[in-house]
């Protein structure tokens, strides 16, 4: 069980969502989502497959447009931003994709350089190499520098994906199922990495998962998405202290003997 991060600032909301709705054709995915993310907090979003967890963070990072509702990220109203302002905001948000989304025509080093050459223009090659060394060391994969993504395992790709999002020092990290499909030991390493990132870079994070071990290890607060709304929230134990069959089922199937 995680010790709640003492540095959380509950007066500083980095993300504030009110009444968010999103539908695809006739299919309502998110019905009425209210959510706050506080500075320095690790927020875990639980929910079954297909409940719209990925859709939610894609809306936060501007990859999808919400149909309705307010969305405030780092003090900016995301619905009313020019493309240029949106890009400036995106630099402060790190998005770690469900399937890593590494650029597979580039080596690991080129993957990490890709955002750097475009956004840290004042850096020379020497500075860039140093920053790349630092993040690779942070995810424990210094030796993979010159490999192609196709030569890495799923867990290694995930970690490189996280390294690539860390490289611009985002204030907010969005992790989409960081531990899905990994063995338990690699899961624990990823969980450690997420906590390490929170401590070292003082980021606020949303972690999407259906892995309760991960939720317990990294979450300062847990929310659960049911029927397009956040029905339960609180600490890990508070969320599961309920008679709701669906929530109990979620718990039981995760810790089946």
């Amino acid at each position: 069980m995680k010790k709640i991060n003492p540095n959380i600032n509950r007066d500083d909301k980095v993300i504030a969502i009110r009444g968010l709705q999103k539908a695809f054709d006739d299919f309502e995915v998110l019905k009425c989502v209210d959510l706050d993310l506080y500075k320095g907090e690790n927020l875990v979003v639980l929910g079954r497959s297909g409940t719209g967890k990925s859709v939610l963070i894609k809306i936060i990072s501007g990859l999808l447009q919400a149909d309705e509702g307010e969305l405030n990220v780092l003090g900016e109203d995301v619905n009313n931003l020019t493309p240029r302002q949106m890009d400036a905001l995106r630099l402060k948000i790190g998005f770690s994709f469900q399937n890593s989304a590494l650029y597979d025509s580039m080596t690991v080093k080129e993957n990490l350089e890709f955002p750097l050459v475009r956004h840290s223009k004042q850096m020379n090659q020497h500075d860039r190499d140093r920053v790349i060394d630092i993040v690779l060391e942070a995810v424990g994969l210094s030796q993979a520098m010159h490999q192609m993504p196709s030569e890495l395992s799923g867990g290694q790709r995930k970690r490189i994906g996280i390294a690539r999002t860390l490289i611009l020092r985002p204030e907010i990290m969005l992790y989409d199922e960081p531990t899905a499909g990994l063995d338990p030991i690699t899961c624990i390493e990823i969980n450690k990495l997420i906590n390490e990132v929170q401590r070292r870079f003082n980021t606020s994070s949303i972690i999407i998962t259906h892995d309760l071990t991960c939720a317990r290890a990294v979450g300062d607060r847990v929310v659960m998405l049911l029927d397009g709304e956040f029905k339960r929230q609180g600490t890990f134990d508070e969320v599961f202290a309920t008679e709701d069959e669906r929530v109990k089922a979620f718990y039981n199937y995760n810790f089946i003997d």
Binding site: D26, G62, R90, N99, A101, R118, R164
Partner: protein, 272 residues
């Protein structure tokens, strides 16, 4: 509850509704093609320029196509010359062979053969590459890292095909003429000087301009179709295959339409 049961299936809608949806989709598609093309012209002139990627793509399109194009062009030159000989011989006009080859290859076969080979080789690979980048969310990853994926991927590729297909066309034309020369030399013992003098006498300035315009148009089309299909490919591995396949089919189709149109325009100009 399985959330997918919320989805209304098409069967529950009335048939009128389905038809109107289908029309909607066609118009939406037309609009998105229009917007996709327009965006190219909006972005191509403004920084940041992705020079490195453009060079890389030029290499990919140009140099990597050379072996296939060389062999094809050479064989086409030989075969075309060989097959044209009997009909000219009937009129005792085999001395016109170089002029005939020249007109056919410079005006039509050079640009067309290049475009068709490029549609197959370059169009499909662009479609598949961008399609798989879409499916594996690499394009989304660029977008969230505040890099313009359209500029990095689409503009660079379309520029590369627009520059390189005309260059390849020149090369194809030359190699095909060389094939023709070998065949003529073997049968009619024409010297290379005589052959090429006749070749250049047969074509006009208008022919060269028309072929250049055509090949630029073909290059732009092949790049644009591949990028559009790949960039907008549907999710799933099936989408990648579809994107690659329909890139080739659509690009070839458009190339032939453009060939017809340009031919009409050039004939009209020639007539005045």
């Amino acid at each position: 509850m399985d959330p997918s049961t919320n989805k209304k299936t098409p069967e529950t809608s009335t048939s009128k509704y389905v038809i109107s949806r289908r029309f909607d989709r066609i118009f939406l598609e037309i609009h998105s093609i229009y917007a996709f093309n327009l965006r190219f012209f909006k972005e191509v002139f403004f920084p940041p320029y992705e020079f490195k990627e453009i060079i890389k793509q030029c290499y990919e399109v140009g140099v990597r196509s050379l072996p296939l194009i060389s062999v094809t062009a050479f064989i086409i030159g030989i075969v075309f010359t060989n097959q044209s000989r009997p009909s000219l011989r009937d009129f005792g006009a085999t001395s016109l062979l170089p002029a005939l080859i020249s007109v056919a290859i410079v005006r039509a076969m050079g640009p067309l053969v290049t475009a068709i080979i490029a549609s197959g080789r370059v169009g499909s690979s662009i479609g598949a590459e961008l399609g798989s980048m879409r499916v594996t969310e690499q394009i989304d990853a660029m977008e969230v890292s505040a890099t313009n994926p359209y500029k990095f991927l689409v503009v660079s590729r379309v520029l590369a095909t627009t520059f390189m297909i005309p260059a390849l066309t020149m090369y194809t034309t030359f190699v095909a003429l060389l094939g023709g020369y070998l065949n003529v030399h073997q049968n009619e013992l024409t010297t290379i000087t005589t052959f090429f003098t006749q070749v250049f006498d047969a074509i006009t300035f208008l022919d060269i301009i028309a072929s250049s315009v055509k090949s630029v148009l073909f290059g732009f089309t092949i790049g644009m179709v591949g990028c559009y299909k790949g960039y907008n490919s549907s999710k799933g591995t099936e989408g990648v295959g579809k994107a690659a396949n329909s890139s080739v089919v659509t690009a070839m189709f458009l190339v032939f339409i453009e060939e017809l149109l340009v031919m009409q325009v050039v004939n009209a100009i020639r007539a005045v």
